[in-house]
Amino acid sequence: MSTLKAVYYINQFFAGIGGEDKADTGLTVFDEKKGPAIGIESMWNGEMKVAKVLSCGDNFINNEENYESVIPEIAQIIREINPDVFIAGPAFNAGRYGVACAKLCDYVRRELNIPSVTAMYFENPAVRMYVRDNYIVETGETSGSMRQALPTLAKLSLKLAKEEKIGPARLEGYLPTGHRYNEYHEKTGAQRTVEILLKKLNNEKYVTEVPLRGLEMVESADPVASIKAAKGALITTGGLVPKGNPDGLKQAFSVTYGKYDISQLDSIPASDYESIHGGYDTTHVNEDPNRLVPLDELRKLEQEGAFGGIYHEFFTTCGIGTNVESGKDIGRRIVADLRQAGVEFGILTST
C-alpha cells in the first residue's frame, strides 16, 4: 500500500510567521512540515505523510472577502495533491483560529469530498457553528494540551484517511456531533445509573449520557392593541376532532394538525366531536367539548362585542410526546394561516 497523504492547515503563529502583528498575512504554502504537522507525522508510523502545510493569518482568513478570494486557490492546491485527509489545528480556545479551522474542514469535506478533522476546546465558538457535521477532536483550553491532543488527532485522521468506520465520540475522542443512534452498551442501564451516581458521590469525573440541550424560552406576544376590533382563533393541543377523526390525526407524536369549520356553530356538540388525545382522561371533554375548546362562551362574548370575531375554523393537534421540532413546525404553519387571514389573537387551550 502506498503512503497516504494529508494536507495540514495552521495559522500564522503555529507556522512560525509571527504573532498578532502577522495576523493579516495571506495564504502561505509550505512543502516542509511546520508546527503540529511535525509531531503528528511521526505518530502515523510511516502510513501517512503531510504533503503540504497551508497557513493563513487569523484576521486575514476570518474576513469574508479575503476568504472568498483565497478559497479557490486553496481548493486548487488540495485538488492537485488529492490528499486522503485534511487536518486543521488544534485551535484550542482561540476563536478566530478555531473558526478558520472548522470552516475550512467543513468546506473541504463538503465541496471537495475529502474527509477532514480539526481539534479545539469545547467552548471554542467554532464548535457550536460546525460540530454537527464535522469531526472536532476535544483539546484543553491552551496549547499546553497539545501533547495530549495530538495522538487522538493523529489516530482519528489516519482512520479517516483509511476510510475506516469511525466509532462513537467517547471512544474516538471527538466532540459529540449531536448524532445519536440506538446501540447496545456493554452494561445495563441499571448498572450505569448506579455507577454514575457513585462517581458523582466520590467526586470522580462523570459524563452525562443525555446532554441537556436547553429548553427554548418563548417570548410572549405583544398585547392586542384593540381587542374590540380584533379577530381571534381557537387552538388546542387537546386532540378535539370531528367524530371518526376524518384526517387520521395521531393521538401522540403529532407531526401535523387539523382545522375544522365552526362558523355555523354556537357551541361544539358532543354528538359530533371527540378527543382522540392519548395522554389524559378525555371523559370530561367528550361529555362537553366546549370544556376544551370554549366556543359556547366565546360566542356570547362575541355577541356582546367583547372582540371582533372568531376565526371560522378551530385548530387542533395532540400535544403528547411531540418532538419539539415538530411542535415548532405545527405552530408556524398554524400562525401562517392566521396571519394571512388577519387574525390578531389566539386562545390556546392545553390539557
Binding site: 469511525i166 441537556l212 395522554g279
Partner: protein, 435 residues
Amino acid sequence: MKLTRQYFDVKDVVWGKELGYKDGVLTINKEQLLEQAKSYLKAVTNVDLEIIKPGEDVRIIHLLDTIQPMYKVEGQGQQYSGFFGQPDTVGEGITNLLRGISVMESAPLPWDDSASSGLLYPRDAIMDMSGPIAGFTPFSETINLVVLYELAEGKSSAEYDRDIRQIGLAIARELAQLTVGQEPDETEVFAINEVDPDLPNIVLVWKCQNQGVYSNTLLYGLPIDNLVPTLLHPNEMLDGCVVSGNYVWPAFKVPTYLHANHPIVLDLYRQHGKTLNFRGVILGRSHNPTNWHKERSANFCVKIARYLDADGLIMAWEGGGNAAVDGMLTIQAAERVGIKTSTITFEFGGKDGTEGILLVDDVPEADAVISGGSIEKTYVLPEVFKAVGGDFLRLNKEAGGYFPPATESITFDTTTHLYLSGNQSGHSKLFAESY
C-alpha cells in the same frame, strides 16, 4: 429484615401428564394448571397456554403483564401480597423463585367504550424472541409461558383487568409452588441492616404510572392513585408488593416481573456494603395530575431521603413525558438540599438524534442522565414464522384501526409499540450512542 431467595433454574418446559418440576424441567399438564383459573372465569371465558423459548422465530403480541413465578415458603404473608389474602408486609423469610421462565399475559382487550378514554385504551405491545428488537426485553432470554385469554363481551375494563391479573398470578404461584421441598440451584440473601459509615447512603425513588384502569400500578393489591411517596424496604419489592396493571404505552410500562426483579434494586443490593449503603426504596406515583401534586410528591420523596441520611438518590420512573416532569422536580428538590442524583430515561432526538431537545423536561441539576435509548428510531420487524397472541396486530385506534398480519414484516417509525423499549427500569443495554 432478611429475605432469602431460593432460585430454581428452569432449563426446559415441556407438556406432560403430570404438573411437576424435576431436575430443571418444568412439566405442564394444561388442564391441571388451568384449574387455577377456574374461580376467576367471569370477564374471562377461556384460557389457553403456549410455551415459547429463546431463539424461536416467534412474535408475541397483545402483551399485557409479565410475571415472575414465585412462592413464599417461610415468613409473613404471601408472594404478591394483597392479591390472595390480607396485605401482610412481606420481605422476610424464604421465597422460592423459578428462574429462566416468565408467565406472560396476552389478550386483545376490547377497544369499545369499556376503555373509557383515549388515554386508557390498551395499545398493542409487541416483542420478538429473536432478531433486531429481541434485546429490548429480558424475555427474549427466558422461556415464556404465555397465557392466552378469551374475553367475555360487555364487561367493564376493571373486570377484565382484575380477572386477567388474578389468573396470571395464580398460574405463576402454582408453578413456583412445585419447587417446595427441593434443593435450589442458588440461594441469595437480601438484607440492608448493616450500614457502613464510610460508604455513601443511597436510596432509589421509584415512581410508577397511575392514571386509571389499564394504566395502573398496585401496591399490596390497591392502586396507588391516592398515595403520597412512601418508604418500602427493597425486600418488599422482591416479594412482589408492587404489581403492574399498565397496558397503555408498551415502550414505557414496567411489568410485574421487573418490579419484583427491579434491575436498579438488584444492582444497589449487589453494591451494598461494598461501594454504598442501600437505604431503601421510596415508592410514589408518576403522572401526578398537577404541578402542585408533582411538587408535593418531589418534596415528600426528598424528605424521606433525608430521614434516611441519603447522600445519593437514584430517580427512576415508569411512563412518558408527564412522569419525566415528576422525576425532574424530584431531582431538583434533592440536589437543592445537597443529595446527589442520577437518573435513567428514554430520549427523543429524531432519526439521527440531532432534532431538538432529547428530553421532554429537564432541570439544570440533572447532570447525570443515563440513556435508555431513543424511541424515535425506525425499526423494521422481520417476517416471523409464528405469532402468539393473535393473527393481526391492533394499531392506530384513533385513526379507525390498522390490523396488519402479525407474522409479516412491519416498519415502525418509533418504538412506542415495542415492549419495554423505553428501558425505564434499566433492564436492558439499549442506549443512544453519541457520535
